[in-house]
Subunit: 384 residues, 2 copies
């Protein structure tokens, strides 16, 4: 069966984008991806939009974007799985191509997080936990992940310092990423002096909402080889779920969905975690990146803290992780995060990442989590 290749990627600046509507953000990323691929929009057979609709005033988002991109009358539809929506759109487009339904599909991850008021946003976010039994009792995203962190510290001796090591690393690389929301280094001293959020988290443990869009154009193997000098192959593409109610999880120190999706993606691509040179993982909170190292098999369970403290996830370490700044420094426009991750890995595998380039990057990975781990999507990308 045909492989699926990536022929073009585009990325807008993440941040408070009061200069642009969501369809304008989508257009920026789409235009850049077309130029990157060297194709005209007429070559695109369909689009899939990854976004969480309820944060926008405009309903029927895929329709308004399709019109704005000039892709009518071709098919479009939207996928939603909370913060992993862009990755679900990637997987959908990948299936569209593998099934022979379409040859070239544009995936548009996009989100405006600043259209609604802060109380409206908070109300929406509070209800991403299970409403009947959990969120009604006051659980929030920082609260859930803080529980994971406390438990990880308890079971494995993970330290507050190690959590901050994640933040420092991601701000270090974010400072070098022209698309990032926060383009400045931070120190552990600064981070540990920031306001409390939910123990053990302070402000610098948490990613920030942002507006943004990123686009990835996928093609069938034949078309990818014709169009692209360096097609990047999506050889592993997996999704798994975990119970949304945390009260039904057997453990709080990892995401079972991530472990399972990683296993499937590695098997599909015929690789193991040791082959991955560069990865973008879902660091919505500092502990999330540490759990990701372990769930993905970059280190053993419980050793994620020392792994980052030893700089094993810096460029030059065992595997470079979030060298685009991650959600932490890049910002987290929820629908766009999945395609933004793929953007970064494609640039790395092509050798186009500039001063953040990981040497000899031939195999890369993305790990994107929806909600509190009820969904996880893992992609394995390869260069020929």
């Amino acid at each position: 069966m045909t492989r699926v290749g990536i022929i073009g990627v585009g990325h807008g600046v993440f941040g408070r984008r009061s200069d642009a509507t969501v369809q304008e953000l989508a257009f920026e990323a789409f235009r850049d991806a077309l130029q990157d691929a060297g194709i005209d929009r007429d070559a695109v057979d369909a689009s899939v939009v990854g976004s969480v609709p309820e944060y926008h005033k405009q309903r029927s988002l895929a329709g308004v974007i399709q019109e704005y991109l000039g892709l009518v009358p071709k098919p479009t539809w939207l996928t939603e799985v909370a913060c992993a929506s862009g990755s679900a759109a990637m997987r959908t487009a990948w299936m569209a191509i593998k099934s022979g339904t379409h040859d070239i599909v544009a995936v548009i991850g996009c989100q405006k997080m600043t259209e609604l008021s802060t109380p409206e946003i908070l109300a929406l976010m509070g209800r991403v936990g299970e409403v009947q039994w959990e969120s009604g009792f006051g659980t929030t995203f920082p609260g859930y992940y803080a529980m994971f962190a406390k438990r990880h510290m308890h079971e494995f001796g993970t330290t507050r310092e190690q959590l901050l090591d994640v933040a420092v690393k991601n701000h270090h690389y974010g400072a070098l990423n022209p698309y990032a929301l926060f383009r400045k280094e931070i120190t552990k001293e600064k981070a540990s002096a920031s306001e409390d959020v939910a123990t053990p988290f302070q402000v610098y443990d948490c990613c920030a909402n942002a507006d943004g869009a990123a686009c990835v154009i996928l093609a069938s193997e034949g078309r990818a080889r014709e169009i692209s000098k360096i097609p990047i192959w999506l050889d592993g593409m997996a999704c798994a779920t975990a119970s949304m109610s945390v009260l039904r999880r057997p453990s709080l120190v990892g995401l079972p969905s991530a472990e399972r999706a990683a296993g499937e993606a590695y098997a599909m691509a015929g690789i193991g975690p040791g082959d991955v040179k560069v990865a973008d993982v879902h660091d919505c909170f500092t502990i999330a990146e540490i759990m990701a190292y372990e769930d993905l098999g970059f280190c053993k369970k419980g050793e994620g803290g020392p792994f980052v403290a030893d700089r094993q996830t810096y460029i030059g370490g065992k595997v470079a992780v979030n060298v685009d700044g991650g959600l932490k420094a890049k910002g987290h426009p929820i629908g766009a995060t999945g395609t933004s991750m793929t953007f970064e890995i494609v640039k790395q595998l092509r050798g186009e990442a500039g001063e953040r380039q990981v040497p000899d990057a031939d195999v890369g990975l993305t790990h994107n989590v929806g909600g509190i781990g009820q969904y996880c999507f893992v992609q394995v990308l390869k260069r020929d």
Copy 2:
């Protein structure tokens, strides 16, 4: 490449379902579909949820449903394209199987339309039109479709009586459908005495919001033949778009997305409109069903009015349309409508439609529209 077969269908009662949460509605339909297929839920490899998330209090809907159905840790994700969300989920699942990614996929179309207050619902619905240039100036769904109706009457002489013929037919069949919201016949006299909505529409020209769910289980050709005595084949599966801004449409008397999707679905299935014995079409307003006859090629453009007046879309006519009551009498739980349509056609092609059975039904069709025609999905279904 493998055909995709339908092995099981399930349907709950449409209406004000204050007895059930949205995940409970999903469960009802899923359980019935499993029983219909004669398989255990462990045989299901993934689910796709078709729904419009913003009408629910619970966010991350696919995750909460996956847990409630007992399908964790398998993949799930949600598709949204306004009223066609269930059909986008069908097309996504179809691609998942055709691509070899999954063997058996459950598609859950579901929606609670009565969780939010009426003003909240109206505000959401108003924003399914293009927000920047249209809905801000007061356009609404009934208003858009009333424009289509007025123009159709002007260009083709379609009459008020013919619009009401659609409502009378659909209530006639809805009265016989145990899952329908309105299970009573109406007369043209009664309908034309009902309250005005948007000229020429009165209350009985409009479908009603409802809560509900319907489930369809799809399988690869091999698995479908093993599992099902009468697999129903999804041989045509098309999607097309039209500009969401009505101000950019070349004409108001049909939906270009529907015409295009129909053409593609017919070609894919190797049939023409004359082969279709039974169809479920998107009759959100009476004019929508008349335009559907024409866009699908059941009659010529402009002749839809006389076509229904001559009872050509009753059982015994040229093609039986909406003999489950349509959106009009069955109710319109937006995410569930697409899978509900497929449910009906599967029952008809299997010969299980009871007193509403269309004789010799071997080829059927569904036509589902999102918004005001910015999306249209057409399926062609066949019995061996």
